[in-house]
Amino acid sequence: MFLTILRRELQETGANSILLSALVAMTILVPLSAYIQAGDYQRMVEDYAIRQSIHQTENSSQSIVLIRPTPPLAPFFNGAYDSLPDEFRLRNDTATTNTPSGDLTPLDWLFPKIDLSFIIGVLMTLLTILLAHYTIAGDREQGALKLILAGPIGRRTVLAAKVTGVILPTTVILIYIVFLYTIVVTVFSEGTFDLSGGNLSALAVFTLVAIIVLIVTAALGVAVSASVQRSSVSLFACASIWIVIILIWPTFGPYIASSSKPVAPPEAFQRDMASKEKELVREELAEHRKTAADLKAGQVGVEAAWRRYLELRRGWIERRNEEIGRLVNERKEHVHDQQAFARRISLFSPYVAFKEVLGSLCGTGLESYDEFLVAVEQCRQQEFIPKGLDLRSRQKPWLNAASPGDRLQLRPLQTPSPTLSKRLAAAAWPLSILIAEMIILLTLGALSFERYDVR
């Protein structure tokens, strides 16, 4: 009986003009978006190589630039990657890291780029809810529901068949979209996108998470449909809820968070740091002046003076790290508080939860950026400063002879590359919210349908 109802549902859905129009629209939009993303990704990878070659020749014991590696799945989900600094300059005369430059991307402010997350999170969820809103209320209007329930079949089985009847075709379209998108990205990224085992498994998980989002949306549509008597009311309610949770709430969430938990403007923080740095610079210069005078008065040799100077430098670098580090950490805490609040209030939207999971999965989320920042800090503390000082200690600037070069050889930046299970573990919270929403909505749908008046 379940199969009979399912077959009927599938036939109805298959004959639905919505599905056909969606397929046509997707077949045009998906390759276009994937083509643009492939081109962007190719340029991103080329940029990375260009920047590496530029910085390798420019890095010195005074300053180096560390570049953020390109996430391999960026064409599928751009996430916050484009909006965050992708390189940092470390200098030995300051404890602050600064972001050298960025590209001009004004159009992104008006129209955020379309990637696979938009296609699934916005367009596919709309398609799903348009299919799901009719399942119960529509059948009641047609009188078909009475006939179905007149047979020897439980209401839960009918509901299960109806939900499956929506999820199956949307899943087929989803797989078609992911496949088409992947093919276009692979072909047009000219070898820069690597469809290796790791990325392929990540893409499979990506698709599974997308299916969960579609189930949540289908369950929402069915729950609404089972709570009202008329299909037009169901459609109105479903469309309104979809607009709020997919379009409006995710957009307002971060702004509400920033007005509820404000942090000082970035320039104010920079100014505070600059004033602290200037205070330290003054003190350091005073100590150097005093030491230089003492050494001269004590008729100390230049090599001993150089060693004393290096000791002083080391001491001041540590003090800067400590005092500026404190300010930086305070700021980070405030910003993290605000971001965590923004995510907390936005996460109930399946679209936000979906993007959060994708951020962890594709390495384009805020966690990956934080990991990069930690790696930059580690590199500064463990590599750049000790090796820079070591290189400096081997130099003899008082001799006019050529010094042994100022090139600093550092190990490549050690950014963590977590395994798929670790990435999924990082996304446990948004993923569990999605699963909880799915269970709650399915249960609500079942409860409403149990009491549904089929007349």
């Binding site: 159009l107 348009l130 409006i248 403007p265 610079v281 230089a292 230049v302």
Partner: protein, 482 residues
């Protein structure tokens, strides 16, 4: 005189033959208004208008509050940056002069690069204003600072400004008000009764359009002016006359947008026979027009106007510099190959100027083309048109790039002239150039210029409104009212 119309031939338009002709014009006009009034009253009674009023007011107020705070924050950011420019530069050099040799140590801390002030109207329509908050260090090159990482959570989604709320809600409500013009009236049987009156079908569509537009624009007007009053009273924004005129123009622009969607709704209602199908079709059309077409047109513009990335520009500048150094080394084996000679510097400056200008020109071209393509769809026209009117759009951004370019020219000219001067005079000249550049801030364009910028989007909206209006009339002539 009898005016022969196609309407008369339609079997369902029973009494129309008796009322064709001049004497029907007066009753026709009063009937148009009568039906429009009936629509407006029906929309109030079935709570559509009150719901639209409440939702639009709430969301516009929320948007105004969020964006006003955002503007305040950006303004504080800019004012702190401006104050920082006046902070003293701290630094110095200490010489370790020993009996058997000497070395020195120098350290310094200077100002942060300047940023441009945000536009007050960005509290209403943010447009591209956020992109101009970035620091811009102008010397012989233009170095645009990275975006602040702290805004990353909001960068994942659209900006919730008035343009966003209007783009989504005004279009949806317009469809909601106009969609049941034919199928719903047909389902409840009032369509036949109406057509039994002395009214032509196109007049009926006109009255429906009038009713839907007034039902939509009246609550929007209230919500929008509540928003403007809130911004004025609670945040001290939009104070002068030009701001108010601009706010009125924005209202006018949004009205056109609403009418386009009201006509789209009417058209859909004339091609469908059942309300549910009409709503579903309208939702799909709405998603295509509002969510897909504008983004797809920007994608097309990017595809057709590829621009180099900032890093590619840097690589080109570096290559040019390296080429000149190589030539120098080939011509003069004694020449140093790390730094260019004084004679080569003007050449390097010129190449850098040329390459950077090409880069900026390609960005501007891409922006213009994106605006042109996006303006072909109503939602794209709205986004670009409103941002142009608010002075936060493409032209304002391109003007900002022009300021950066001309500031760079000031610096380059000073650098060139300083080559022939003594060290002291050169320093003085460069200091003057730096001050000139630091004082160059972008200014709000006069209203006339903003209006000129938005001519294409306005024309596009008008064309869409007329097109769908005519299409609805044409389809309704053939509509089976039984």
């Amino acid at each position: 005189m009898i005016e022969g119309t196609q309407d008369c031939k339609h079997p369902d338009n029973l009494s129309k033959g008796d009322f064709g002709g001049k004497q029907t014009m007066e009753p026709g006009r009063s009937l148009i208004w009568l039906i429009a009034r009936k629509e407006i009253i029906a929309n109030i009674r079935n709570f559509k208008t009150p719901v639209a009023l409440v939702i639009m007011t709430l969301l516009l107020l929320l948007s105004a509050h969020a964006l006003a705070l955002d503007y305040r924050n950006r303004l504080n950011n800019w004012s702190v940056n401006r104050d920082s420019q006046r902070d003293p530069i701290v630094g110095g050099r200490v010489s370790y002069d020993l009996s058997d040799g000497s070395f020195s140590y120098g350290v310094g801390f200077s100002h942060p690069p300047p940023i441009h002030s945000p536009q007050p109207f960005s509290a209403l329509i943010k447009g591209m204003d956020g992109e101009m908050d970035r620091s811009a260090n102008v010397s012989q090159r233009i170095v645009i600072g990275a975006r602040h990482g702290e805004l990353a959570t909001s960068a994942l989604f659209d900006t919730p400004d008035t343009s966003f709320v209007v783009k989504l809600l005004v279009s949806l409500f317009a469809l909601m008000f106009s969609l049941d013009a034919a199928p719903r009236e047909k389902e409840v049987g009032t369509l036949r009764a109406m057509l039994a009156q002395p009214i032509r079908r196109r007049e009926l569509i006109l009255s429906k359009s009038l009713g839907a537009s007034i039902s939509l624009l009246a609550p929007f007007a209230v919500a929008y002016f509540v928003e403007i009053i809130y911004l004025h009273l609670a945040h001290g924004l939009l104070n002068d006359r030009q701001d108010l005129v601009c706010a009125m123009l924005i209202f006018g622009f949004v009205s056109f947008y609403g009418i386009v969607f009201a006509h789209i709704g009417l058209f859909i209602s004339t091609i469908t026979t059942r309300t549910r199908i009409a709503i579903t079709t309208a939702l799909l059309a709405w998603a295509t027009i509002v969510l897909i077409l504008p983004n797809a047109s920007v994608l097309m513009a990017k595809l057709l106007t590829p621009t180099p990335s900032y890093n590619q520009l840097n690589a080109r500048l570096r290559d040019a510099r390296r080429r000149i150094l190589q030539e120098e080394a080939e011509n003069n084996s004694a020449a140093r190959t790390v730094r260019p000679s004084r004679q080569s510097l003007p050449r390097i400056y010129e190449i850098e100027r040329q390459e950077t200008d090409n880069y900026l020109a390609s960005k501007k071209d891409q922006n213009r083309r994106a605006r042109l393509f996006a303006s072909l769809s109503p939602a794209g026209a709205l986004t670009f048109g409103l941002s142009d009117l608010a002075g936060t759009g493409t032209d304002a951004y391109n003007a900002y790039l022009d300021i950066l370019g001309s500031s760079r020219d000031v610096m380059l000219d000073a650098l060139k002239r300083s080559l022939d001067l003594s060290r002291q005079d050169a320093d003085k000249l460069m200091q003057e150039a730096i001050e000139t550049v630091a004082n160059r801030q972008r200014r709000a364009e006069p209203l006339g210029a903003d209006l000129r910028s938005s001519i294409i989007p306005i024309t596009s909206l008008l064309a869409w409104a007329v097109l769908f209006g005519l299409a609805a009339c044409w389809r309704f002539k053939r509509y089976d009212v039984r």
